[in-house]
Symmetry: C2
Subunit: 364 residues, 2 copies
């Protein structure tokens, strides 16, 4: 999408420099920095330290990492080592493994001398597919927003709430949860988006930055506020993304998603999850019991980043000296709280049966 | 309670200086500052700008403010003007009006020349009563914690979750939600407290500071984390405070309390609210419909305070330039989600009938 009038993707191959460029998202929304990734270590750090984040973008980044490594060493062992090295950078992200498996499966079938070019083409293909997938998610989600708008007085905005950043910065372009919003905006439907701050890491600031850059009306709220807003009829629907969806429709997403789903359910507000089918883990059926939740560094909780009065970006400590922080990074929203899954093929209910009907080729 | 080994209350009259001392809580947990309040304007600013916060402490502060003003001007009109001036500083805080009404009702019955001394004695009385009330809340809550501990293997901690700061800093001493914790600690029951950060304003940092100062095991978590912890059996009970309780048992407390109550209910975790009966508004029956929710300055949401690397306290901007913030400061937890109310008289269910039985003199 656009930044200051220029069209960007969140990751791209720079043919002139022969490296991969990403937006280093650690400095957003305060500074817009583009960095180059070349070595495998740089790709691993970029994923692990969340220079890039969001399931689809992590997958594309891993694919480009594999491609860069194939240009250096296209042997069988290199494929396996690269797979292992990148796979352990974010254990909860299913797209990471999906992209790496796809690269490994394709590359090991072709001779080493063809692997560098093939791997780069595959990374491009994964990136382009993500853009197309998200465009379709947006068109399918647009139908939901259109129906809500049809029930309103003309001119009254459709009020959506979202958590975390399932925006174009979390994908290659369009975003997942935001794609219906961008499509609605382009269709002329008045919108207002409540953006959860999404502690820790405040990815809501990224979503606000995205929406603001695109001219979509929004407000930045603390993660505590959504329940109250829903209680008072100020939210027409919730749309969030997901890092991993079970074959049965449970949704693993950024910590706090479950709380918003509970509030939506308690107040009769529809709760939608936008996802590319690549985030479905067909081997997992009970999300709460089976999905390991990453416990991240406590510094993310005890500290917070922002812009000081003089415009510099600073990381400050919000908790008292000596207080330990707990940092489970994700939670699981059980399918009973999910109104519908917005996929690239259409909207379906969050159930094993509906998902199997939508994706018969993957269901067991 | 203690700070660096010295016993403090959160507000006290300084006989030598003939002024009122408070802990200026805006700088906690990073700096411990004591300031003097003398003029009525200073008292109003201290309440409005949250140098003091928490329903009981706000009430005591207002009473001391009335006392200081009576020393300057004890006439009838001064009583009414002081009442009006202080009452509008925090519209949602029921204790503020309760304390001011109590002062006005007592003072208008006695001759002006006796009012200064009487008002000061009344402020002391309100402060002392709060301490005693909170001690009793603690003893009643202790029984709940004892029962939970009795069901555990000896040595396993009782794991509590709390939201905001209903600690001694929010009262004159002991706190409300924390009083059972301090009593449990003194009874030798092993405890671990999950402390919600509680954006905006991060009052969880105050709770962490309190608990740390007292040697109670705790972890600082983001407001998003509690649902996940409850889903995984890591919370034995939730205990929060309240700014206002309806005659029917609905609970108005810091924004986000409702979300934790939903999660507790969804996971069979008991959800208790600790409150002095002074926070019960006997005129209100439906909390969600009737209680006006204060919309505070958006800067509280778009900015956050903390300690920089060099030890100074800074306020940094977390949202992007130009993004507006929404800041509803409280929400209402419907009584159906509340397991019990811990009052100074005992623990009762959250219902009009139970509250009327517990406080027959107030019920209509």
């Amino acid at each position: 999408m656009k930044v200051d009038g220029t069209q960007y993707r969140s990751i791209w191959f720079d043919h002139d420099a022969n490296d991969v460029k990403i937006i280093d998202q650690r400095w957003l929304p305060h500074e817009f920095k583009i960095v180059a990734l070349e070595s495998l270590e740089e790709f691993a750090v970029a994923i692990q330290e969340m220079w890039v984040r969001g399931a689809p973008l992590i997958g594309a980044t891993a694919a480009y990492g594999m491609a860069m490594q194939m240009a250096r060493d296209p042997n069988d062992r290199s494929i396996d080592e690269t797979w292992s090295y990148l796979e352990k950078t974010r254990p909860t992200a299913i797209n990471l493994r999906w992209a790496l498996n796809r690269c490994r499966d394709a590359l090991c079938k072709i001779p080493p001398e063809s692997r560098a070019e093939a791997a780069l083409n595959l990374a491009h293909e994964i990136a382009d597919e993500d853009v197309e997938t998200n465009r379709r998610i947006g068109l399918n989600g647009l139908e939901i927003i259109k129906k809500i708008a049809a029930g309103k007085t003309a001119g009254d905005p459709v009020r959506l709430l979202t958590h975390c950043n399932a925006g174009w910065l979390a994908t290659v372009d369009w975003g997942t949860a935001t794609s219906p919003m961008y499509h609605a905006q382009e269709s002329g439907i008045p919108l207002h988006v409540w953006v959860d701050e999404t502690r820790p890491r405040n990815q809501g600031a990224l979503t606000s930055w995205e929406l603001g850059s695109h001219g979509i009306s929004h407000k930045y709220i603390v993660d505590n506020a959504g329940g109250h807003l829903m209680q008072h009829g100020l939210v027409d629907a919730v749309i969030v993304g997901t890092d991993r969806t079970t074959a049965s429709g449970d949704v693993c997403n950024k910590i706090g998603t479950y709380l918003k789903a509970l509030a939506a359910h308690d107040n009769g507000v529809p709760f939608y999850v936008a996802l590319p089918s690549s985030t479905i883990d067909w081997t997992v059926h009970n999300g709460v019991d089976e999905i390991p939740i990453e416990e991240r560094n406590e510094d993310e909780v005890t500290h917070i980043m922002g812009k000081t009065d003089n415009g510099s970006v600073a990381n400050i400590q919000v908790s008292p000296d000596g207080t330990p922080g707990g940092n489970p990074a994700f939670d699981v929203t059980p399918r009973r709280l999910v109104t519908g899954l917005i996929t690239e093929r259409g909207v379906c209910e969050a159930s094993a049966e509906a998902l199997a009907r939508m994706f018969p080729e993957n269901a067991n």
